[in-house]
């Protein structure tokens, strides 16, 4: 559909109050035509839908050495498209150092969730463009960044996204620069390397490779020299969208918009042609064009799977035909085992996606969908507005790039659990088989041979613990979300205990799958957070964890263990947890229930079929 028609249609739907219809069309509009001239329209339209859409709010401050104002509406539109309502604060020109260093600056008063530090080589280290003594400049610039990052960490728990420095399009000494060991390009690379080292010393500091971004779009064409010299804007009009999209790759995961599973179509998505018609020999899939486009797509999906994103198949096909290709086609890079769930049938895709989400025990808002057919995408967008639909262009050569550019597949940290996720689900299938064959529930628990290790949060587990508070929706009593920085800060508070639980059984090491946070207030130990990944729900691990909490609290002198159940749309699986563990209801309000357990009499016991190890104090 033409852009102007689509716009017109959206305007009419908005006027008629048909927000659901308007919303998915807006997604298509922005995915296909997102650009500077369209940003104003998209932001205005999305603003009218604000109350109807389930948006995550996120506060982002941009500190800069150049003009970013024209990028702000584009960034907002990108954020809206991925379900984020961005509140943006733009720092004064070149005031980034003061804002970072001064604890009472407007930056900190804004209480950002994330801060982008967008500083260019030209502004920070003009000497690098003038052929000075590079070693000194490298030391000075590295030292400056170190000071800013330290000050920032002291003043804020927000995440910090730092632009790396970019290389100049033309070196000051011409080709002679390349003949020198100590040259301009080298100095800039050295600074960037130092920055990465600095980031590793702190939590929540991330790097945006600005040099790579500029290079990807062509150094000569990235900026418009006249705009730079007249209005201090280093990005040409047509590239503003790429700057905004690059920022989104950081903001989407930081705002919690991450796909846990991507469901992919088969025919004309993973290979060219239709297996049911073209047969094994007729479909396009291999290292040569046109099959190469589909191999590139498969490689992109494999890369997602290595980030811990589950792959699933949603295809209208005969299961035997599809299976034959997955198993036997020599051009397949993905293997049947790479897929955690499969729906090859003639049902509509919305139905398949619902089933896949249920099978994997994840929310539909954690599902992404990739399909070459615009009608299938439209149907899913219409029926399941929560699902993140990837817009594929008509040219298969661009499929892989579209998948790779999608911000909801980005991860800023990767835990061991992420990398192993696929194998966890394979183990789960074996467990389910066992459960069905075991004569009683207890026999099943016993045969699982579960071992739980409960330990205080330490430097190694901090990232995963924060990640679990961000992502766990179902078995989560209070659904309090914490960043890594906030977890680190809580762990330092007196009276607070932050525990992680790792679970192994005969099938797999499930990794770190649960978090409990408690705070001692006099004779009462209060449970701030209690959550378990859906991977281990229903196997009495929750009982082992609460029993361990109760036992420890009593050992510390507590007479009561208190907890809250704060209902959300998704945490019904945790609703009866307190009652089942003999807690008494103390009070109930619209917000939730307050429960208490008298530690002087009864306390829950660790089930005999779970071996619990309690690790020593903080490392």
């Amino acid at each position: 559909m033409e852009l102007s028609d689509l716009r017109h249609e959206i305007e009419e739907l908005l006027a008629g109050g048909e927000w659901r219809e308007a919303s998915w069309r807006l997604q298509v509009l922005w995915d296909k035509h997102g650009s500077a001239p369209l940003a104003g329209f998209a932001v205005t339209a999305y603003s009218r839908l604000r109350d109807q859409l389930k948006l995550a709010s996120h506060r982002c401050a941009i500190l800069r050495s150049f003009t970013v104002e024209p990028i702000v509406p584009i960034l907002k539109a990108c954020a809206f498209r991925w379900g984020i309502d961005l509140d943006i604060h733009v720092g004064e020109f070149n005031a980034y150092a003061q804002e970072l260093l001064d604890g009472s600056s407007r930056l900190y008063a804004f209480h950002p969730d994330s801060v982008i530090l967008a500083v260019r080589t030209h502004d920070l280290a003009p000497e690098l463009e003038q052929g000075a003594s590079y070693a000194e400049v490298v030391d000075r610039v590295t030292g400056q960044y170190a000071g800013w990052i330290r000050a920032f960490r002291g003043n804020s728990t927000a995440s910090l996204i730092v632009h790396t420095l970019e290389r100049p399009a033309i070196t000051t000494q011409g080709v002679y620069d390349s003949q020198l060991m100590d040259n301009q390009a080298n100095a800039i690379e050295q600074i960037n390397r130092n920055l990465r080292k600095l980031a590793a010393e702190h939590r929540g500091i991330y790097f945006l490779d600005y040099d790579a971004l500029v290079a990807r779009h062509g150094r000569e064409h990235w900026g418009d020299e006249r705009k730079w010299l007249s209005v201090r804007l280093p990005v040409a009009a047509a590239n503003l969208i790429y700057m905004a999209q690059e920022w989104m790759k950081f903001l989407a995961p930081l705002a919690g918009r991450q796909a846990k599973c991507v469901a992919v179509d088969l025919d004309n998505t993973l290979w060219g042609g239709v297996i049911g018609e073209d047969g094994m020999a007729g479909i396009q899939l291999g290292p040569e064009y046109p099959g190469a486009a589909y191999q590139a797509m498969q490689r992109a999906l494999l890369d997602l799977s290595r980030r811990g994103i589950l792959l699933a198949v949603s295809s209208k096909n005969n299961p035997q035909d599809a299976w034959e290709v997955l198993r036997d086609h020599p051009g397949m890079l993905l293997e049947p085992e790479d897929f955690t769930a499969m729906r090859t049938n003639w049902n509509d895709k919305a139905q398949s996606l619902r089933e896949i989400a249920a099978e994997l025990n994840i929310g539909l808002d954690a599902m992404a969908f990739v399909d070459d057919n615009p009608l299938e995408r439209q149907q899913v967008r219409e029926q399941l507005p929560e699902v993140m639909v990837v817009e594929l262009p008509s040219d298969p050569l661009q499929y892989a790039r579209s998948v790779r550019d999608c911000p909801v597949f980005e991860r800023l940290t990767l835990s061991d659990e992420d990398r192993q996720r696929g194998t966890y689900y394979a183990a789960e299938r074996e467990r389910q088989a066992l459960e069905q064959s075991a004569p009683t529930r207890e026999d099943f628990y016993r045969s699982l041979a579960q071992e739980a290790e409960i330990a205080p949060v330490n430097a190694l587990t901090l990232a995963r613990v924060a990640q679990l508070t961000q992502k766990t929706n179902q078995f989560n009593l209070t659904t309090r979300r914490y960043t890594e920085q906030q977890i680190a800060e809580l762990a330092r508070r007196p009276g607070w205990r932050l525990l992680s639980i790792q679970v192994r059984d005969r099938y797999a090491d499930n990794g770190l799958v649960g978090v409990a946070i408690t705070c001692d207030r006099g004779a009462v130990c209060e449970i701030d957070t209690f959550l378990l990944s859906c991977r281990v729900i229903g196997r009495t691990i929750e009982t082992a964890l609460i029993a361990s909490l109760a036992e420890e609290a009593r050992a510390r002198g507590a007479r009561r263990l208190d907890g809250w159940f704060l209902p959300t749309k998704k945490n019904a699986p945790a609703k009866d947890f307190f009652a089942q563990h003999r807690f008494q209801l103390i009070s109930e309000s619209a917000e939730g229930q307050h429960w208490g357990l008298d530690l002087t009499s009864a306390e829950p016991r660790v089930p005999q079929w779970v071996r619990v190890f309690v690790a020593a104090e903080k490392v």
Binding site: A36, P37, A39, G40, T67, P70, L229, L233, A236, A238
Partner: protein
């Protein structure tokens, strides 16, 4: 031809300023439009550059006294 371009320019300006396109004419200028400050002026210029695949020189940006003048400039660049 200039009429079409003018209405397109008004459309882009309306999006940038978040106001109704019907309220804009060739005579609309920063003096009349409250949202049309220097930041929005730059956004308007960039939106037009991106839409038409053109570039304006700093001198041209200063000559953009009203939407009619902008439409005329756009026209010289795309024909």
């Amino acid at each position: 031809m200039n009429g079409d371009i003018l209405s397109e320019v008004c459309g882009v300006a309306a999006d940038v300023f978040a106001i109704d396109a019907l309220s804009l004419t060739g005579a609309s200028s920063p003096e009349q439009i409250e949202a049309w400050d220097s930041v929005q002026h730059l956004s308007l210029v960039l939106a037009l550059e991106d839409k038409y695949g053109i570039q304006f020189a700093p001198e041209e940006m200063e000559r953009m006294k009203d939407l009619g003048a902008i439409a005329t400039l756009v026209r010289t660049k795309i024909t």
